[in-house]
Amino acid sequence: MMREAVFAHPVTVGIVAATVAVVLAAFAVIGVMTLTGRGTPELRRELWLRTLSWCLLLPLMMGPVLLGREWVIAAATLLGLACLREFDRATGLFRETLVAGIVVVGILAANFAALDHWYAFFVALWPLTVGVIVIGTIPLDRPAGYVQRTALGILAYMLFGAGLAHLSFMANEPGYRPILLMLLTTVALSDVAAFTFGKLIGGPKLLPATSPNKSIAGAVGALCVTTLLVATLSFFIFRGTPMAQPHWLLVFGVIVGIGAQAGDLMLSSIKRDIGIKDMGTILPGHGGVLDRFNSLLLVAPAAFHFIQFFVGFGMGQPARLITGG
């Protein structure tokens, strides 16, 4: 499989440089706040905690992208399994060991299909895994709770296996680095933009019963920022392809912008329904892995298939690297 140099694309250089600059600026701002005594001690502590968490998270997110294809697939697999664990324990699906086990195998299989660069198997896995989940617990002869465990298992596989593994499959494109870095950073930025616009403008709430802290101003502001940023970066990434027309680039931006916020609201709905605040405790200042990566869940497949429609992933690259055939 063809491999490109790590910093071959100027967008890769730009995103990495901008990220480092933003983190340094954040430290400078919080440092000045601490020195001048601006803001409450709790706010400053929260900001320190969040920024330090980002210092751990960003290398974990961007490092595999820079290191290479296999690293991306390994990271997406671990992310899928970590998300599944939190989802299992929050919903109670972990008590259904067999279903939880089938979903683990499904996540591994979807990422294996990406590693193998076998698109037909990658696509076939969603109906196949759903079929195994549906059939799996019938032999237990325990119909009580069947709908619940099957539905939760399918939702978990679709989000953390079939959905997230699209990130893995993207790595089969030799020029995947700027695409993945753009998605990872713009999706994270969408959260920050929603928070900032919400605080600056305020106004009516978006969906108060689902997520009481989100405002309409924040949602619209984040959508505008994300759309424009994705469209601009995509202009440079997809230059010379059928996708590089202003209207398609804007549609792509809107898809990423809406996908990011919808993923966030989807997780909020799950948490409200269960009655919990966070999905986990592993990331100080953020909560669980899912609380941080919820925005990526829907963006990964949506962005993949939009780009696939115009450009494709790994076209002309050798396929079925492991299974042959």
Binding site: R85, R89, G145, G275
Partner: protein, 235 residues
């Protein structure tokens, strides 16, 4: 249709707290690790100690409480090695917190391999026993428990503490008495590693205490009956 979402009882706890929590519920990883550990343990008990088990037919479906005389660190391992299938996956050894949950590393081993729950000697709160009792019934667990409260250093069985009564009095949960023979000779408190001595486990008929009152007298009476049942199995 029963459609009820319920998070893990230990949801929201930091990792170190979760390992020591009486609310800890097993996930897939813990079950897989626990099964590997039990397979190794069964091999060790069969080969090194030539473990002989009689009365296995007395083991009911979960939930139940497995009790025995306590003379050695081999006791809990031997009893957990006796269980098979679903009861084995649901089994928690109630272990001394100060011995097995002192450091995070020992807690990881105690929680993930042995699936132990910590009991803090001399400072067990009523709420902790209530939690254990509630989980025994609601989560259909199996507890491995030594009602003497500590290892008999000389190998002679001591009187049972009333804690076993608090757990089961007034419930339908059966208590299965067992007698462990040879553990003290194989691994007495003054030896650093076990000797390859033969171990025997005798499992008696289950007892239930559905009518026992939830009073001090009721708990003590339950403990006395349990103690008599274990003593009756002694050779």
């Amino acid at each position: 249709m029963e459609f009820k979402l319920r998070p893990a009882r230990d949801h929201g706890l930091e990792t170190a707290d979760r390992l020591r929590s009486l609310s800890r519920e097993r996930g897939l990883g813990s079950i897989v690790l626990g099964s590997l550990w039990r397979a190794m343990l069964r091999g060790y008990l069969a080969v090194y100690h030539r473990l002989e088990v009689t009365g296995r037919e007395n083991l009911p479906e979960a939930p139940f409480v497995l009790i025995a005389n306590h003379t050695s660190h081999l006791d809990a391992l031997t009893l957990s090695g006796v269980l098979r299938g679903e009861p084995a996956r649901r089994a928690h050894a109630l272990a001394a917190g100060d011995t097995f949950f002192g450091s995070t590393l020992s807690s990881v081993f105690a929680a993930y391999a042995v699936n132990a729950l910590p009991v803090w000697r001399k400072r067990t709160k009523a709420g902790e026993l209530a939690t254990l009792r509630q989980r025994l019934v609601e989560d259909r667990l199996v507890y491995i428990l030594f009602p003497e409260g500590t290892r008999a250093r000389d190998g002679a069985m001591a009187p049972f503490q009333p804690g076993i009564g608090v757990l089961v009095a007034g419930t339908d949960v059966p208590v299965v008495p067992c007698f462990l023979d040879g553990c003290h000779a194989a691994w007495p408190p003054d030896r650093s590693v076990p000797a390859p001595r033969k171990l025997r486990v005798r499992i008696g008929a289950p007892l239930t205490f559905a009518d026992a009152p939830a009073t001090r007298a009721g708990w003590e009476d339950t403990a006395r009956q349990c103690e008599a049942a274990v003593r009756a199995l002694a050779p």
